[in-house]
């Protein structure tokens, strides 16, 4: 049992050991990473590592091994540090070598001095990422990953389980549930699968409010992309191949937690005694403040292992990269799930049909939308995005809110953007660079890949958009059309590609562009929408809900191809269609039909297009268009 193993509690002793053995040559660094890699490979070892997502910082042991699931929000400049340094005891002249890797502070004993001029000193380079928890991460993701690790984590952390229980309740809202408040006014919506007891919710909520106020008198903006988010932001120090990471990447990092209070002290001292040092007395205070915030608020993680995550769904085995997706575990998981795919799909379709008030066609399109993902880019054209505009939503009704809640229950990360004049004019959509603080100030559109963005246009009233508003709407439009956001760097703009599933709910046709508009035709009008939706969620068994979640996440990762034979058939078909009705069938229609066919095949677990699927896709499209046509007529009559 590795429960109280050193490598968890005191990784420095391990590093020191390896360092001491190999000191003259520099391959100790490689050995350290290898050691930890091996350790973490042991069965379930990753679950033993306490996660910063779940456990509040002050209950984690400083200098212990932790993990953190996060999104890279900003990248700071690389820093040079003392990779190896030497201390001297002025009395005895004894020299000792130390390693500076994985540390913020060069340690030395009380009787020792650091020899800054030693020839043994090795200067190395590391990169700092400013990381925040995945924006819009659904409550269920947090809960499931929390329970997955929590059961076994207590022995390795410093606090006792009983104490832990209390502390967890107290502090959970600090870092666990950004969606807490949402859940609050959503009533008991989040509890359907019985993971969160309502009682605890209350205590948390009340505790949450006065916890924040005393801490930080000038509140440090932790720079979360979405308003109302909470959780630990973290300075992640990366030691190798940092070039492979990009802004908005979702990472899982394993590293040494550093919350050394000295970090803050050093800064304060610097600020106090700045009279002599001209570098300090400049207007750099703001940058200082942002780049080295107090460690209690923004802990540091010195990364030993960092991996890009393809998804954050804890129900799926983590397939971190291409090679690992070929491992047996993953493959057997996939094949197991594939065997029961069709009942799951049927159930999900039923569930969504109910949610969309009995509209089966809309539910079908919603599934296609939820499994869509940008799989390639052809010069500027993103392929595989499938923005759906669900028109015909009742105005000013709680319907759209409930639709969002259901989506939230299904996807790992989501955000509901209420498109009001107020919101458009006043919120920060586009991240911009703040040169005073030298950081990228986040905006709503800084989201991780595969986040579901639900734009609620039913909230929009007539009114005046100001400059910000116009910029925001343009940015949203660009996001939908090109799947990219132009971050504002003041002197220039920089394009960041993204992969966000946008669902627009609107009354009529949305003012935003979309790939596909589907007009909702409710079959049932429930007398009490609230009740209807709630009962819908409670009716689903947690296990079934989990299957839905796996279904939606897994299908995104599948490959897809079209055989030559089918290509021919599609070609013929297209030519034929154009012949009959050249006015209404355009290249765009073909684009869309191909997309629908792609996702339709994938949703049934098929990775190649068959003739039947193609016909089915055409059929769906025809139905959808007929509906739009019909809608147009109705509107025409009204006018």
């Amino acid at each position: 049992m590795p429960c109280v193993a050193d490598w968890l509690n005191n990784p420095f002793s391990i590093v020191q050991g390896i360092f001491a053995q190999n000191v003259p040559n520099s391959d100790w660094e490689k050995k350290v990473t290898e050691y930890f890699k091996e350790k973490l490979k042991e069965n379930n070892a990753t679950n033993w590592v306490p996660s910063l997502n779940d456990v509040p910082v002050h209950y984690l042991k400083p200098n212990s091994l932790v993990k953190f699931r996060c999104m890279v929000q900003d990248m700071f400049d690389p820093e040079f540090y003392m990779g190896v340094y030497e201390t001297v005891d002025p009395n005895t002249n004894a020299r000792v070598l130390h390693f500076g890797k994985y540390r913020d502070v060069a340690e030395c004993g009380p009787q020792q001095e650091i020899d800054l001029n030693s020839s043994q000193t090795v200067t190395s380079e590391r990169q700092t990422f400013y990381c925040v928890p995945v924006p819009g991460e659904s409550a269920w993701v947090k809960e499931i990953s929390f329970f997955a690790s929590q059961a076994r984590v207590s022995p390795s952390t410093s606090y006792t389980p009983s104490r832990h229980k209390r502390s967890y309740e107290e502090d959970e809202d600090m870092d666990l549930h950004p969606s807490k408040q949402k859940e609050q006014h959503m009533g008991s919506g989040g509890d359907t699968h019985g993971c969160v007891e309502p009682k605890r919710l209350e205590t948390e909520a009340s505790a949450g409010h006065h916890l924040i106020s005393p801490n930080c008198s000038p509140p440090l903006d932790l720079n979360f992309p979405l308003p109302g988010e909470k959780g630990p932001a973290c300075l992640v120090k990366v030691y190798e191949s940092w070039d492979s990471f990009k802004v908005n990447d979702v990472l899982e990092v394993y590293g040494i937690l550093s919350v050394d209070p000295v970090l803050s002290i050093v800064n304060n001292e610097e600020r106090d005694s700045s009279t002599l040092d001209p570098m300090e007395c400049m207007d750099m205070a703001e940058e200082q403040r942002v780049h080295s915030p107090p460690a209690s608020l923004v802990p540091r993680i010195h990364v030993i292992l960092a991996q890009k995550l393809q998804h954050i769904n804890p129900l799926l085995p983590a397939c971190l990269n291409e090679e690992e997706s070929k491992t047996c575990e993953y493959l057997s998981f996939v094949s197991n799930f594939m065997s029961e795919l069709s009942p799951v799909r049927a159930e999900l379709l039923g569930f969504l049909t109910h949610a969309l008030l009995g509209d089966g066609l809309a539910a079908e399109y919603l599934i296609l939308h939820l499994i869509s993902t940008v799989y390639a880019r052809r010069d500027v054209l993103p392929l595989g995005k499938f923005t759906v505009n669900l028109s015909g939503c009742p105005r000013n009704s709680i319907f759209t809110e409930h639709i969002y809640r259901i989506i939230q229950q299904l996807v790992p990360a989501s955000y509901r953007l209420q498109m009001t004049i107020e919101n458009m004019n006043h919120s920060r959509f586009i991240p911009h660079k703040d040169y005073t603080a030298n950081r990228l100030v986040s905006g709503v559109l800084q989201l991780a890949s595969n986040t579901s963005l639900v734009v609620d246009e039913t909230q929009l009233e007539q009114g005046q958009l100001d400059t910000t508003g116009v910029h925001n709407v343009t940015a949203l439009g660009n996001l939908i059309t090109w799947q990219k956001v132009d971050y504002d760097f003041n002197y220039h703009q920089m394009e960041f590609p993204c992969n966000i599933n946008v669902l627009i709910t609107s009354e009529g046709r949305s003012l935003l562009p979309s790939d596909c508009q589907i007009h909702l035709q409710p079959q049932i009008i429930p007398p009490n929408m609230e009740e209807y939706m709630n009962s819908l969620l409670t009716a689903v068994l947690p296990s079934v809900l989990n299957k839905f979640r796996i279904y939606l996440s897994l299908l995104r990762l599948l490959d897809y191809s079209i055989s030559d034979e089918v290509t021919k058939a599609v070609e013929e078909d297209f030519v034929e269609m154009r012949k009959n009705d050249p006015e209404s069938i355009t290249a765009d229609d073909l684009h869309r039909t191909l997309l629908v066919a792609r996702f339709l095949s994938l949703s049934a677990g098929q990775t190649t297009l068959s003739r039947e699927r193609w016909l089915r896709a055409k059929q769906l499209e025809a139905l959808r268009k007929a509906r739009l046509q019909q809608q147009k007529c109705v509107n025409g009559n009204e006018l």
Partner: protein, 850 residues
Amino acid sequence: RLKAGSGPALCLAAQDARSPPSQKRRTDDSASTGDLQPMPTSPPADGQSPGAPDALFSSPPQFRQSAIPLDFDISSPLTYGTPSSRVEGTPRSGVRGTPVRQRPDLGSVRKARQVDLHSDGLAEDVVATDQSLGQKLVIWGTDVNVASCKEKFQRFLQRFIDPLAKEDEDIGLDLNEPRYMQRLEEINMVGEPFLNVNCDHLRSFDENLYRQLICYPQEVIPTFDMAANEIFFDRYPDSILEHQIQVRPYNALKTRNMRSLNPEDIDQLITISGMVIRSSQLIPEMQEAFFKCQVCAFTTRVEIDRGRIAEPSVCKNCNTTHSMALIHNRSMFSDKQMIKLQESPEDMPAGQTPYTVALFAHNDLVDKVQPGDRVNVTGIYRAVPIRVNPRVSSVKSVYKTHIDVIHYRKTDSKRLHGVDEETEQKMFTEERVEILKELSKKIDIYERLSSALAPSIYEHEDIKKGILLQLFGGSRKDFSHTGRGNFRAEINILLCGDPGTSKSQLLQYVYNLVPRGQYTSGKGSSAVGLTAYVMKDPETRQLVLQTGALVLSDNGICCIDEFDKMNESTRSVLHEVMEQQTLSIAKAGIICQLNARTSILAAANPIESQWNPKKTTIENIQLPHTLLSRFDLIFLMLDPRDEAYDRRLARHLVSLYYRSEEKMEEEYMDMAVLRDYIAYARSYVNPRLSEEASQALIEAYVDMRKIGSGRGMVSAYPRQLESLIRLAEAHAKVRFSEKVETIDVEEAKRLHREALKQSATDPRTGIVDISILTTGMSATARKRKEELAQALRKLIQSKGKTPALKYQQLFDDLRAQSDTAVTKEMFEEALRALADDDFLTVTGKTVRLL
């Protein structure tokens, strides 16, 4: 060995009462080198540099007291220095009248020491490479021998003639004379005591000296200063400068990109490019502190060591402890400014945020750059350990890095397609140029490039070719001396057509392809957003000119989507830009004319949601013809209705939906290659018309005019001829040809004709009619209008002498008489025409004859 003259270590200053005064003018002696002690001029120790083991971190810490015991002999004959430096309190400069100025850019203290390679005491870090040589002095920690280094540099100054010099670069220099001697002469005349030295020149002259400069700038640059001053005052002994000449090397090849800076670059001379994002206010930085004993009034000076002053705790005169007080107004200060430089957007890998680096500018370099400027900075890269706090035993293990600026070079002032010439030459490595040239020799290069353009957009070959030519642009011609100003070289293109024909996609592609592209939508942009506006900076209350899309895309392409949605006032701005290529601003007291040499690629949708083939282009998109005539090419992007096309399109689209990304890329030319190809052609190829080509152009123009004259109308204007020339030049550029030849003219003619055929065909007659674009109305339409007016006149005259007619009555009569359908608009137009002829007036519902 301590080189007393070049500033003894601080530790000495604290202990040795006699040395401080000599520090005050420590560069004195570097100038007065007339009485140098004889020095062996053996080449400096090459091969392993003695400092190599710790060169990683050889910042000032190396020279600290703790590292080296103070056991060298100051009075040793080996000590290299000048007598004047050892004479106490010689503040006068070595050369009459010209004071020395410290160089804070080279670090606050130059504690260069020389090391005799034979003296064993210090040899721990020094590898004597050649013991057989006689005395061999190098500066401690380096392989630099001052004397030989100086001699070599002097030789460089005296002899270097740039074989590659281009006239435009150095105005007023005789290229066959030693370049830097002329520079020195310039200094003598102008009195600006800075000698900028291109490291590239130095490298081509003496590779080893160049290497030393890069590796040990802190030691080598003062030596260069010394050498330059010696030559200068030798030649112009009576010259009095503000201070002694300082050598400023630039264009070091060490590092170009901020991202590639790494610990190995510390303390080396580097050149990086970037954009200034912030600059601090001026900071007075203490160079030398002046202390006075409050007991005995003994004074002493202490130099700053890495931003700190070692306050003497004991007065050396009266031995009172803690009696020394700092006298501020007798201390010496220098100007300093901190600047944040951010890497240029072009250097950045996709998906990452830009790096920044701090710069420290000193003395006259302060306030030389403003936020927003693109600069090439040459300086010394420094890493300073974050200060050891006396109260906390541990130190932050991180260093602070910055660059001490030695030379700025603004790239904005003479930018050419995004990068200045200097950088551009670097941008294309020789292999790259080879590849590009190889490509240009392919016969089908034109087709190849055009198909590489936006491969995801299907067909529309001619439009792509047009855009390709736009990307290359014509040759810029300057007729300002004959009073006609610059001729536009940029090609403007308008795409119009049905919505959903991937016009926007094409625009996006172009915007992504060119370095200086801007993308705006006509709907969202105002005249201000396109041009420039004046803003008051909230902090400084200074008026700032903010430039809009058109100015920002100077030398680039401005893509304007939804051109038709643009409001009238915004569009009017474009008139000037599209022909004169300038932008005049008169606002808030700022009157100026900005260059806006931008090509415009616009897309417009028809006023009715679908293109109406029965209407002319003007009628379809409702744009003023004055603006339309400024477009060289106007293309229609219509949905072709033809089975073979559909089939190809379907196959193309289907393939998009399953093929992997790598496969797709193989097939087409890489976007990067395309980009380089265009950039290379734009900056290096400047085709001129050949004799045959001019003939062909004349013929083409005459032909175009002829077509119309047969039907009594003008079918081509000089503007069309200019367009043809531009297109032909651009086509020659595609071939990397310096000459415009007949084939270029042929293609230009073809493309121009294609575009006209699409956009200027009169839908009523089916004849291509340029007047649709130039006057907004086809000649036949005008003719018809006249005919109708005549018919109306006849009708009225036939009615006899009635003074007034009923409007409706007249209309009905005319309709009954005419054999074609007469609309109300046509009728009113005819009335108006007659009214203009003073034939009648229309008042309300009656028509009165005059």
